[in-house]
Amino acid sequence: MKLWLGLALLAGPLAAQSARARLEGRVPGAAVPVLDSLVQRAVAEGLPTEPLIQKALEGGAKQVTASRIVAAVQLSLGQLRAARDLLIRAGDEPPVTPGEVTTVAWALRRGLPAPVVQRVVAALPRPPRASAMHAVADLAAHQFDPDSAADLIIAAIGQGLVRERLLDVSAAAAHELQRGHTHAEALALVRQQLPNVPASPKPTRSAVARARRPAAPPPP
Protein backbone atom coordinates (compact mmCIF):
# COMPACT_ATOMS: atom_id res chain seq x y z
CA MET A 1 0.00 0.00 0.00
CA LYS A 2 2.76 2.40 0.98
CA LEU A 3 4.59 1.56 -2.24
CA TRP A 4 1.53 2.40 -4.37
CA LEU A 5 0.97 5.60 -2.40
CA GLY A 6 4.58 6.55 -2.93
CA LEU A 7 4.34 5.90 -6.62
CA ALA A 8 1.10 7.88 -6.84
CA LEU A 9 2.74 10.80 -5.07
CA LEU A 10 5.64 10.62 -7.46
CA ALA A 11 3.43 10.36 -10.55
CA GLY A 12 2.38 13.99 -10.34
CA PRO A 13 5.81 15.59 -10.26
CA LEU A 14 7.11 13.04 -12.77
CA ALA A 15 4.33 13.85 -15.20
CA ALA A 16 4.91 17.56 -14.81
CA GLN A 17 8.65 17.12 -15.21
CA SER A 18 8.26 15.11 -18.38
CA ALA A 19 5.75 17.67 -19.69
CA ARG A 20 8.15 20.55 -19.02
CA ALA A 21 10.95 18.67 -20.76
CA ARG A 22 8.77 18.06 -23.79
CA LEU A 23 7.50 21.63 -23.97
CA GLU A 24 10.74 23.52 -23.47
CA GLY A 25 12.09 24.71 -26.78
CA ARG A 26 8.86 23.77 -28.52
CA VAL A 27 6.49 26.45 -27.14
CA PRO A 28 7.12 30.11 -26.25
CA GLY A 29 9.10 30.19 -23.00
CA ALA A 30 6.54 32.47 -21.33
CA ALA A 31 3.86 29.81 -21.71
CA VAL A 32 5.79 26.94 -20.12
CA PRO A 33 5.03 27.68 -16.44
CA VAL A 34 1.30 28.17 -17.07
CA LEU A 35 1.11 25.05 -19.22
CA ASP A 36 3.03 23.15 -16.60
CA SER A 37 0.49 24.16 -13.96
CA LEU A 38 -2.38 23.07 -16.19
CA VAL A 39 -0.76 19.65 -16.63
CA GLN A 40 -0.31 19.37 -12.88
CA ARG A 41 -3.95 20.21 -12.38
CA ALA A 42 -4.90 17.42 -14.78
CA VAL A 43 -2.73 14.99 -12.85
CA ALA A 44 -4.34 16.02 -9.58
CA GLU A 45 -7.81 15.43 -11.05
CA GLY A 46 -6.86 12.04 -12.48
CA LEU A 47 -7.26 13.29 -16.05
CA PRO A 48 -5.00 12.34 -18.97
CA THR A 49 -2.18 14.77 -19.60
CA GLU A 50 -1.15 13.71 -23.10
CA PRO A 51 -3.98 15.60 -24.88
CA LEU A 52 -2.86 18.79 -23.11
CA ILE A 53 0.79 18.30 -23.99
CA GLN A 54 -0.10 17.50 -27.60
CA LYS A 55 -2.26 20.62 -27.85
CA ALA A 56 0.61 22.74 -26.56
CA LEU A 57 3.12 21.14 -28.93
CA GLU A 58 0.69 21.67 -31.78
CA GLY A 59 0.34 25.34 -30.96
CA GLY A 60 4.10 25.70 -30.79
CA ALA A 61 4.57 23.97 -34.13
CA LYS A 62 1.91 26.18 -35.72
CA GLN A 63 3.74 29.22 -34.25
CA VAL A 64 0.74 30.43 -32.36
CA THR A 65 1.14 33.05 -29.60
CA ALA A 66 1.70 31.96 -26.02
CA SER A 67 -1.66 33.29 -24.88
CA ARG A 68 -3.52 31.37 -27.59
CA ILE A 69 -1.68 28.17 -26.72
CA VAL A 70 -2.60 28.59 -23.07
CA ALA A 71 -6.23 29.30 -24.00
CA ALA A 72 -6.36 26.19 -26.18
CA VAL A 73 -4.89 24.00 -23.46
CA GLN A 74 -7.33 25.45 -20.90
CA LEU A 75 -10.16 24.63 -23.30
CA SER A 76 -8.79 21.11 -23.68
CA LEU A 77 -8.70 20.68 -19.92
CA GLY A 78 -12.33 21.76 -19.74
CA GLN A 79 -13.19 19.25 -22.46
CA LEU A 80 -11.47 16.47 -20.51
CA ARG A 81 -13.42 17.39 -17.38
CA ALA A 82 -16.69 17.31 -19.31
CA ALA A 83 -15.72 13.94 -20.75
CA ARG A 84 -14.92 12.54 -17.33
CA ASP A 85 -18.27 13.77 -15.95
CA LEU A 86 -20.11 12.20 -18.88
CA LEU A 87 -18.43 8.85 -18.29
CA ILE A 88 -19.45 8.89 -14.65
CA ARG A 89 -23.04 9.80 -15.55
CA ALA A 90 -23.04 6.92 -18.04
CA GLY A 91 -22.09 4.52 -15.30
CA ASP A 92 -18.30 4.28 -15.27
CA GLU A 93 -16.99 4.00 -11.74
CA PRO A 94 -14.53 6.70 -10.71
CA PRO A 95 -11.63 6.96 -11.19
CA VAL A 96 -12.43 6.67 -14.87
CA THR A 97 -9.80 5.31 -17.26
CA PRO A 98 -7.74 8.20 -18.73
CA GLY A 99 -7.87 6.61 -22.19
CA GLU A 100 -11.67 6.64 -22.07
CA VAL A 101 -11.66 10.30 -21.05
CA THR A 102 -9.59 11.07 -24.15
CA THR A 103 -11.95 9.02 -26.32
CA VAL A 104 -15.07 10.77 -25.06
CA ALA A 105 -13.45 14.20 -25.30
CA TRP A 106 -12.65 13.46 -28.90
CA ALA A 107 -16.20 12.33 -29.64
CA LEU A 108 -17.56 15.58 -28.22
CA ARG A 109 -15.02 17.63 -30.20
CA ARG A 110 -16.12 15.86 -33.36
CA GLY A 111 -19.60 17.23 -32.73
CA LEU A 112 -21.48 14.31 -31.24
CA PRO A 113 -24.18 15.46 -28.80
CA ALA A 114 -23.44 14.48 -25.20
CA PRO A 115 -26.60 12.32 -24.83
CA VAL A 116 -25.56 10.28 -27.88
CA VAL A 117 -22.06 9.78 -26.50
CA GLN A 118 -23.54 8.75 -23.19
CA ARG A 119 -25.72 6.13 -24.89
CA VAL A 120 -22.74 4.62 -26.68
CA VAL A 121 -20.73 4.52 -23.44
CA ALA A 122 -23.60 2.81 -21.67
CA ALA A 123 -23.95 0.28 -24.51
CA LEU A 124 -20.31 -0.75 -24.13
CA PRO A 125 -19.82 -1.29 -20.42
CA ARG A 126 -16.14 -2.11 -20.77
CA PRO A 127 -13.52 -0.03 -22.52
CA PRO A 128 -12.06 0.50 -25.03
CA ARG A 129 -14.78 2.46 -26.76
CA ALA A 130 -12.65 4.48 -29.19
CA SER A 131 -13.70 2.64 -32.35
CA ALA A 132 -17.38 2.79 -31.45
CA MET A 133 -17.16 6.53 -30.82
CA HIS A 134 -15.29 7.23 -34.03
CA ALA A 135 -17.70 5.06 -35.98
CA VAL A 136 -20.68 7.07 -34.72
CA ALA A 137 -18.83 10.33 -35.34
CA ASP A 138 -17.94 9.20 -38.87
CA LEU A 139 -21.60 8.63 -39.60
CA ALA A 140 -22.58 11.99 -38.15
CA ALA A 141 -19.92 13.61 -40.33
CA HIS A 142 -21.82 12.21 -43.32
CA GLN A 143 -25.02 13.82 -42.11
CA PHE A 144 -26.51 10.70 -40.61
CA ASP A 145 -28.67 11.64 -37.65
CA PRO A 146 -26.43 11.08 -34.59
CA ASP A 147 -29.09 9.11 -32.72
CA SER A 148 -29.70 6.84 -35.69
CA ALA A 149 -25.96 6.47 -36.14
CA ALA A 150 -25.63 5.43 -32.51
CA ASP A 151 -28.53 2.97 -32.97
CA LEU A 152 -26.69 1.28 -35.84
CA ILE A 153 -23.39 1.02 -34.00
CA ILE A 154 -25.11 -0.23 -30.84
CA ALA A 155 -26.93 -2.82 -32.96
CA ALA A 156 -23.58 -3.86 -34.42
CA ILE A 157 -22.16 -4.21 -30.91
CA GLY A 158 -25.15 -6.33 -30.03
CA GLN A 159 -24.31 -8.61 -32.94
CA GLY A 160 -20.83 -9.15 -31.60
CA LEU A 161 -18.85 -6.64 -33.65
CA VAL A 162 -16.05 -4.97 -31.73
CA ARG A 163 -13.21 -2.52 -32.17
CA GLU A 164 -12.17 -1.81 -35.74
CA ARG A 165 -15.06 -3.82 -37.18
CA LEU A 166 -17.36 -1.04 -35.96
CA LEU A 167 -15.50 1.32 -38.30
CA ASP A 168 -16.33 -1.11 -41.11
CA VAL A 169 -20.02 -0.63 -40.22
CA SER A 170 -19.83 3.14 -40.59
CA ALA A 171 -17.81 2.76 -43.79
CA ALA A 172 -20.46 0.44 -45.20
CA ALA A 173 -23.24 2.94 -44.44
CA ALA A 174 -21.33 5.78 -46.05
CA HIS A 175 -20.67 3.56 -49.07
CA GLU A 176 -24.40 2.95 -49.48
CA LEU A 177 -24.92 6.70 -49.36
CA GLN A 178 -22.38 7.15 -52.12
CA ARG A 179 -24.22 4.54 -54.17
CA GLY A 180 -27.21 6.85 -54.17
CA HIS A 181 -29.32 5.58 -51.26
CA THR A 182 -30.90 7.94 -48.80
CA HIS A 183 -29.56 8.04 -45.26
CA ALA A 184 -32.50 5.97 -43.99
CA GLU A 185 -32.03 3.39 -46.76
CA ALA A 186 -28.30 3.19 -46.10
CA LEU A 187 -28.83 2.50 -42.40
CA ALA A 188 -31.46 -0.14 -43.15
CA LEU A 189 -29.28 -1.87 -45.72
CA VAL A 190 -26.30 -2.07 -43.41
CA ARG A 191 -28.42 -3.24 -40.52
CA GLN A 192 -29.56 -6.12 -42.71
CA GLN A 193 -25.95 -7.00 -43.46
CA LEU A 194 -24.92 -7.18 -39.79
CA PRO A 195 -22.73 -8.79 -38.63
CA ASN A 196 -21.31 -9.48 -42.10
CA VAL A 197 -20.47 -5.98 -43.27
CA PRO A 198 -17.48 -6.02 -45.62
CA ALA A 199 -14.17 -5.67 -43.81
CA SER A 200 -11.81 -2.96 -44.88
CA PRO A 201 -8.94 -4.32 -46.94
CA LYS A 202 -5.67 -5.02 -45.18
CA PRO A 203 -2.63 -3.02 -46.30
CA THR A 204 -1.22 -4.38 -49.54
CA ARG A 205 2.18 -6.00 -49.58
CA SER A 206 3.55 -3.12 -51.61
CA ALA A 207 2.24 -0.64 -49.03
CA VAL A 208 3.87 -2.63 -46.25
CA ALA A 209 7.10 -2.90 -48.23
CA ARG A 210 7.39 0.86 -48.65
CA ALA A 211 6.22 1.78 -45.14
CA ARG A 212 8.73 3.70 -43.04
CA ARG A 213 8.86 4.69 -39.43
CA PRO A 214 8.96 8.39 -38.58
CA ALA A 215 12.48 9.79 -38.25
CA ALA A 216 13.69 9.89 -34.65
CA PRO A 217 13.60 13.34 -33.04
CA PRO A 218 16.95 15.15 -32.89
CA PRO A 219 18.83 14.87 -29.59
CA PRO A 220 18.11 17.80 -27.21
Binding site: D138, H142, A174, H175, L177, Q178, R179, G180
Partner: protein, 182 residues
Protein backbone atom coordinates in the same frame (compact mmCIF):
# COMPACT_ATOMS: atom_id res chain seq x y z
CA UNK B 1 -10.88 25.86 -90.32
CA UNK B 2 -14.03 27.90 -89.70
CA UNK B 3 -14.72 31.52 -90.54
CA UNK B 4 -13.08 32.74 -87.30
CA UNK B 5 -9.81 31.06 -88.28
CA UNK B 6 -10.03 28.51 -85.47
CA UNK B 7 -9.19 24.94 -86.47
CA UNK B 8 -12.10 22.51 -86.29
CA UNK B 9 -11.84 19.50 -84.02
CA UNK B 10 -11.36 17.23 -87.04
CA UNK B 11 -8.45 19.37 -88.23
CA UNK B 12 -6.81 19.38 -84.80
CA UNK B 13 -7.19 15.61 -84.46
CA UNK B 14 -5.65 15.15 -87.90
CA UNK B 15 -2.68 17.34 -86.89
CA UNK B 16 -2.08 15.42 -83.67
CA UNK B 17 -2.34 12.06 -85.43
CA UNK B 18 0.03 13.44 -88.06
CA UNK B 19 2.67 13.94 -85.38
CA UNK B 20 2.00 17.45 -84.06
CA UNK B 21 1.77 16.44 -80.41
CA UNK B 22 1.62 20.03 -79.16
CA UNK B 23 -1.61 20.61 -81.07
CA UNK B 24 -3.33 18.50 -78.42
CA UNK B 25 -2.99 21.52 -76.14
CA UNK B 26 -5.74 23.12 -78.24
CA UNK B 27 -8.05 20.23 -77.36
CA UNK B 28 -7.34 20.67 -73.67
CA UNK B 29 -7.91 24.43 -73.74
CA UNK B 30 -11.07 24.05 -75.75
CA UNK B 31 -12.84 21.48 -73.55
CA UNK B 32 -11.32 21.52 -70.09
CA UNK B 33 -13.77 24.04 -68.57
CA UNK B 34 -16.87 22.01 -69.39
CA UNK B 35 -15.26 18.67 -68.55
CA UNK B 36 -13.94 19.96 -65.22
CA UNK B 37 -17.33 21.39 -64.31
CA UNK B 38 -19.04 18.10 -65.20
CA UNK B 39 -16.52 16.00 -63.28
CA UNK B 40 -16.61 18.32 -60.26
CA UNK B 41 -20.41 18.13 -60.07
CA UNK B 42 -20.29 14.35 -60.51
CA UNK B 43 -17.61 13.71 -57.93
CA UNK B 44 -18.34 16.52 -55.47
CA UNK B 45 -14.67 17.44 -55.37
CA UNK B 46 -12.60 19.81 -57.48
CA UNK B 47 -9.39 17.96 -56.67
CA UNK B 48 -10.86 14.64 -57.77
CA UNK B 49 -12.31 16.32 -60.86
CA UNK B 50 -8.93 17.76 -61.87
CA UNK B 51 -7.36 14.31 -61.53
CA UNK B 52 -10.14 12.59 -63.46
CA UNK B 53 -10.13 15.11 -66.31
CA UNK B 54 -6.33 15.26 -66.62
CA UNK B 55 -6.17 11.46 -66.74
CA UNK B 56 -8.98 11.46 -69.30
CA UNK B 57 -7.14 13.88 -71.56
CA UNK B 58 -4.00 11.76 -71.41
CA UNK B 59 -6.03 8.67 -72.21
CA UNK B 60 -7.75 10.52 -75.07
CA UNK B 61 -4.37 11.52 -76.50
CA UNK B 62 -3.04 7.96 -76.31
CA UNK B 63 -6.17 6.54 -77.97
CA UNK B 64 -6.91 9.39 -80.34
CA UNK B 65 -6.69 7.12 -83.35
CA UNK B 66 -9.73 5.24 -82.05
CA UNK B 67 -11.93 8.38 -82.10
CA UNK B 68 -14.03 7.33 -85.07
CA UNK B 69 -15.74 10.68 -85.61
CA UNK B 70 -13.23 13.47 -84.96
CA UNK B 71 -15.99 15.98 -85.68
CA UNK B 72 -17.71 14.64 -82.53
CA UNK B 73 -14.59 14.88 -80.38
CA UNK B 74 -16.50 16.66 -77.63
CA UNK B 75 -18.91 13.75 -77.16
CA UNK B 76 -16.00 11.31 -77.18
CA UNK B 77 -14.21 13.27 -74.47
CA UNK B 78 -17.32 13.42 -72.30
CA UNK B 79 -17.61 9.66 -72.67
CA UNK B 80 -14.09 9.13 -71.38
CA UNK B 81 -14.61 11.50 -68.46
CA UNK B 82 -18.02 10.01 -67.60
CA UNK B 83 -16.50 6.54 -67.47
CA UNK B 84 -13.63 7.74 -65.33
CA UNK B 85 -16.06 9.42 -62.93
CA UNK B 86 -18.06 6.19 -62.67
CA UNK B 87 -14.88 4.22 -61.85
CA UNK B 88 -13.90 6.81 -59.30
CA UNK B 89 -17.32 6.72 -57.63
CA UNK B 90 -17.37 2.91 -57.60
CA UNK B 91 -13.96 2.85 -55.87
CA UNK B 92 -14.79 5.44 -53.24
CA UNK B 93 -16.11 4.01 -50.01
CA UNK B 94 -16.76 7.29 -48.31
CA UNK B 95 -18.34 10.35 -49.90
CA UNK B 96 -15.47 12.80 -49.52
CA UNK B 97 -16.03 16.43 -50.01
CA UNK B 98 -12.84 18.37 -50.26
CA UNK B 99 -12.65 21.43 -48.07
CA UNK B 100 -12.71 23.70 -51.06
CA UNK B 101 -16.21 22.44 -51.73
CA UNK B 102 -17.32 23.50 -48.26
CA UNK B 103 -19.50 26.60 -48.16
CA UNK B 104 -17.31 29.70 -48.33
CA UNK B 105 -16.73 31.64 -45.16
CA UNK B 106 -18.66 34.91 -45.37
CA UNK B 107 -16.52 37.96 -46.00
CA UNK B 108 -17.72 41.29 -44.60
CA UNK B 109 -17.55 42.73 -48.08
CA UNK B 110 -19.90 40.10 -49.50
CA UNK B 111 -23.22 41.52 -50.60
CA UNK B 112 -26.41 39.93 -49.45
CA UNK B 113 -26.98 38.75 -53.00
CA UNK B 114 -23.57 37.03 -53.11
CA UNK B 115 -24.21 35.23 -49.84
CA UNK B 116 -27.66 34.15 -50.91
CA UNK B 117 -26.28 32.86 -54.18
CA UNK B 118 -23.58 30.92 -52.34
CA UNK B 119 -26.18 29.37 -50.04
CA UNK B 120 -28.40 28.45 -52.96
CA UNK B 121 -25.49 26.82 -54.77
CA UNK B 122 -24.60 24.87 -51.64
CA UNK B 123 -28.20 23.63 -51.43
CA UNK B 124 -28.26 22.62 -55.08
CA UNK B 125 -24.91 20.83 -54.75
CA UNK B 126 -26.13 18.89 -51.73
CA UNK B 127 -29.29 17.93 -53.61
CA UNK B 128 -27.17 16.77 -56.54
CA UNK B 129 -24.99 14.53 -54.39
CA UNK B 130 -28.09 12.77 -53.13
CA UNK B 131 -29.04 11.69 -56.64
CA UNK B 132 -27.82 8.31 -57.84
CA UNK B 133 -24.71 8.64 -60.05
CA UNK B 134 -26.77 7.66 -63.12
CA UNK B 135 -29.41 10.34 -62.53
CA UNK B 136 -26.79 12.91 -61.61
CA UNK B 137 -24.87 12.18 -64.79
CA UNK B 138 -27.99 12.41 -66.95
CA UNK B 139 -29.09 15.70 -65.37
CA UNK B 140 -25.66 17.30 -65.69
CA UNK B 141 -25.12 16.21 -69.29
CA UNK B 142 -28.57 17.37 -70.34
CA UNK B 143 -29.00 20.61 -68.48
CA UNK B 144 -25.57 21.83 -67.46
CA UNK B 145 -23.41 20.61 -70.32
CA UNK B 146 -26.19 21.06 -72.87
CA UNK B 147 -25.84 17.75 -74.70
CA UNK B 148 -28.70 16.46 -76.85
CA UNK B 149 -30.24 13.12 -75.97
CA UNK B 150 -28.46 11.64 -79.02
CA UNK B 151 -25.12 12.90 -77.74
CA UNK B 152 -25.94 11.66 -74.25
CA UNK B 153 -26.66 8.21 -75.69
CA UNK B 154 -23.23 8.25 -77.34
CA UNK B 155 -21.60 9.31 -74.05
CA UNK B 156 -23.36 6.85 -71.77
CA UNK B 157 -24.19 3.95 -74.05
CA UNK B 158 -27.78 4.06 -72.76
CA UNK B 159 -30.97 4.22 -74.81
CA UNK B 160 -32.66 7.59 -75.16
CA UNK B 161 -35.89 6.61 -73.35
CA UNK B 162 -33.76 5.46 -70.37
CA UNK B 163 -31.90 8.76 -70.35
CA UNK B 164 -35.13 10.77 -70.53
CA UNK B 165 -36.50 8.87 -67.58
CA UNK B 166 -33.35 9.52 -65.56
CA UNK B 167 -33.46 13.23 -66.38
CA UNK B 168 -37.12 13.40 -65.38
CA UNK B 169 -36.49 11.61 -62.08
CA UNK B 170 -33.52 13.86 -61.38
CA UNK B 171 -35.63 16.96 -61.98
CA UNK B 172 -38.29 15.64 -59.60
CA UNK B 173 -35.79 14.86 -56.88
CA UNK B 174 -34.07 18.23 -57.20
CA UNK B 175 -37.31 20.16 -57.25
CA UNK B 176 -38.46 18.39 -54.13
CA UNK B 177 -35.32 19.45 -52.27
CA UNK B 178 -35.44 23.00 -53.59
CA UNK B 179 -39.10 23.44 -52.66
CA UNK B 180 -38.57 21.94 -49.18
CA UNK B 181 -36.00 24.62 -48.43
CA UNK B 182 -37.98 27.60 -49.65
Amino acid sequence: MDVTGASSDAEVVARVLGGDREAFGLVVRRYEAGLLRFAARMLGSRDAAADAVAESFVRAYRHLASCREPARLRTWLYRIVANRCKSHLARRTIADVSLDEAPPVADPSDTEATLERAEQLALVRRALVRLSPEKREAFLLKHVEGLSYEEMAAVTGERIPTLKMRVHRAREALLQVLEEHE
